[in-house]
Symmetry: C2
Subunit: 440 residues, 2 copies
């Protein structure tokens, strides 16, 4: 038996590895060379794409549909091949757990969603779901065991209200179970249909700081990465959102007989306020956005001076304080305009979603990993909501974006190039390996 | 028999009358003292008010309803008492003719309408209708015969499209007869219901310049007379109207992920254009009005940057040239805004109603009559449409306005004071007497 040469070879390899580790100056060894299998990843994407594919080339794999269930079955098979033990939790999330070396460390979670909007695309949620499972498979095939346990989770019903991820923070109310989903089933019925137990949702609740890290890979639904030709977006956080109804009340009058200087025209006031909103939002540096997406004039006839206009205002930013400050400026402007136009303007908030800021260490780490993989990267906020934000306060958060061509999303033409997808999965893989080491 | 003293008295009266005529410097004699019977006028208004009165205190006497028919029956009885020969013409107009001294002169027409909008008021149209019949009664009671024949006309369906008056200019198409009225009947069916003959509408057509004068008394549907405390409005004309649909096309996008400087926000462009419209319309002296009465954003959700906004534009003025010039300025502004906002803006006209200018002689005469009656007056355009405009080109036009409190119209709270109503009727009476003399 040639045990000696083998032992020698093993020893040599150890020394080489130590030298390599010193050379690249980090705590990674062989594992820093680990890469996902691009072809395997693409094959799983090609297969998943067929489940719910419609005649427009879009996906009808809405939450809690038969397509959704079939897709979860397929992903379970992938998880099994990756050495995980897939199960559907009470909220209908597909969870594959991989034990770590330590029995005391909290888990690192990664995953995304595979449900789509009706006639949606094949990348939103899918990239982070298949990317996570490919990471599991890569680690499994390499025989690499992290210290932290890993949880690979396909969250249920992201598009219809982040039901699966929100079950982790306990904000899903029993009443919601009766609400319609984007498909044919009510939420509770749908969760049951895919194997969950809606009456026991509270069992999913996780305590604050009970998760070591939550990392989500996702397509960027703007066009920033695509336009600037950058591979990786290091997400600074998921923006906070506040929405208001703005009601302008003037006096409806005959558009022929009411002289201009006698009008209390709600439309004139609303138009000036909508212009002012755009001016105020763009008057400060930063990535804040403000939108008037809906407007209606009453009574709404060409020959009647509008007595009332109702419009929506939405402001998003990573800083809730900044949102509040911008809104205060809009409110002041509305008071001035109300006086000038002899109207009454009220701004009533009807929705608020707090910002979820990502962890500074995670951002640096994702940035470093991208550098080492030779991928360009920029830091950016996520203007869209994601499952990750539901874990705010339960886990430190990290998010990795890959480009979506022209920022198209929620449409059949949504597209992320094969290499961008693979880049994202490799960044996720290496980020998890490093996190595991750094968080020990 | 004391024939001599009677003849002497008669002679004295003649001399006195001649002296009086010289004293007031006009061609009127006793007839300049003629006044309508205020109490009789008010009694007829009180009676007509009950026909179609609803629980809100408003009028449901819409065209071609049973109420409309009942009211025409009542007005026929008033016409009979005024020595007229009432008949319903082919278009459902109630026409009472009074022969003149001359068999060759063209008729002088006066009248208005008694149909209301649903839940309308008790003055719009009614003042000019009952005012005209009271003029007929006053002349009849005084035994005064004009040289011109007089036609007292209650036009049918003013509120639903001036069908009766438009039958005089031949613009009512056979197709219109199938259109719904403001009540339960289609127009043709309704005309038949009140005694007309829709298939023979063309018999109503009058040749250009075939009518000596058309004088309409009406409430002012703005608040100018009321606010300025003026009794009589000498109408300079009925404004022309042009209406456009303005379509702004940008690009619909996610309101969270689309940076402000990457947006093609149709709402921002539309808001700036609506503000510009108001600025342009008010930038020139005059009584022109411009209105954006209807607006809609697409897809119309608070979290989507609008890809399209459609809004209406209406401009009214006595001068069609001025309307065209103001529109050209708005069109230029829209081109600049389209460039600035990277949107496409189109302005498509969908309605045009030419201005109907009143006769200079008639305006002077109405002004003089008001002076002699001790009534304050101002010259003003009519921003609203009236039956009179249908006779443009067929007759020289004159219109007399009386105040409507706060300019309220088409509502149960529409109100014209009793004295203002009587002032209007007396102005109409004296205007017709003078016109008859001047136009001989």
């Amino acid at each position: 038996m040639n045990t000696k040469p083998a032992a020698l070879a093993s020893y040599s390899k150890f020394v080489l590895t130590m030298l390599l580790m010193l050379a690249i100056g980090t705590a990674s060894g062989q594992q820093s060379d680990l890469r996902v299998d691009a072809e395997r990843l693409h094959a799983s994407w090609s297969k998943l794409r067929t489940i719910g594919l419609n005649d427009n080339g879009g996906s009808d794999r809405v939450a809690y549909s038969q397509y959704n269930k079939d897709a979860l079955d397929y992903l379970s098979s992938l998880m099994l091949a990756a050495g995980l033990d897939p199960r559907i939790d009470v909220a209908g999330n597909l969870v594959g757990r991989k034990a770590g070396n330590s029995s005391v460390l909290a888990p690192i979670i990664t995953g995304s969603h595979i449900d789509t909007v009706p006639n949606g695309g094949h990348y939103d949620g899918i990239v982070g779901s298949l990317g996570a499972i490919e990471v599991a498979r890569t680690l499994h095939d390499a025989g690499y065991i992290t210290d932290h346990p890993l949880e690979f989770i396909i969250w249920s019903n992201e598009e219809g209200g982040k039901t699966g991820s929100r079950s982790f923070n306990g904000s899903v109310t029993p009443d919601e179970m009766g609400l319609p989903s984007l498909g044919d089933r009510a939420l509770g019925e749908g969760i049951e249909f895919i194997g969950g137990a809606p009456a026991r949702l509270n069992e999913n609740r996780r305590e604050p700081d009970s998760v070591a890290a939550l990392i989500e890979l996702h397509i960027e639904q703007g066009a920033i990465l695509d336009r600037e030709n950058v591979s990786i977006g290091v997400v600074e956080g998921i923006v906070g959102i506040r929405r208001w109804n703005i009601t302008v009340v003037g006096f409806a009058n005959h558009a022929g007989t009411t002289p201009m200087n006698q009008r209390r025209d709600a439309m004139v006031a609303a138009a000036q306020l909508a212009s002012a909103i755009n001016r105020i939002i763009t008057s400060e540096p930063g990535s804040q956005v403000g939108t008037v997406g809906r407007i209606e004039a009453f009574p709404g006839a060409p020959n009647v001076v509008p007595g009332k206009v109702v419009m929506s205002l939405e402001i998003r930013d990573l800083s809730m304080e900044k949102i509040g400050r911008l809104f205060a400026r809009i409110e002041s402007e509305s008071e001035i305009l109300a006086k000038q136009t002899d109207t009454v303007i009220t701004l009533e908030q009807f929705y608020e979603s707090p910002a979820a800021i990502t962890d500074e260490r995670f951002k640096r780490l994702i940035n470093d990993v991208a550098d080492e993989l030779g991928l360009s990267s920029i830091h950016m906020p996520s203007g869209a909501g994601h499952d990750a934000q539901s874990l705010s306060g339960i886990a430190p958060l990290g998010m990795i974006f890959v480009p979506s061509v022209k920022g198209v999303s929620h449409a059949p033409t949504e597209f992320t190039g094969k290499q961008d997808f693979v880049n994202g999965a490799n960044t996720l893989l290496q980020t998890i390996i490093r996190l595991d080491q750094q968080l020990r």
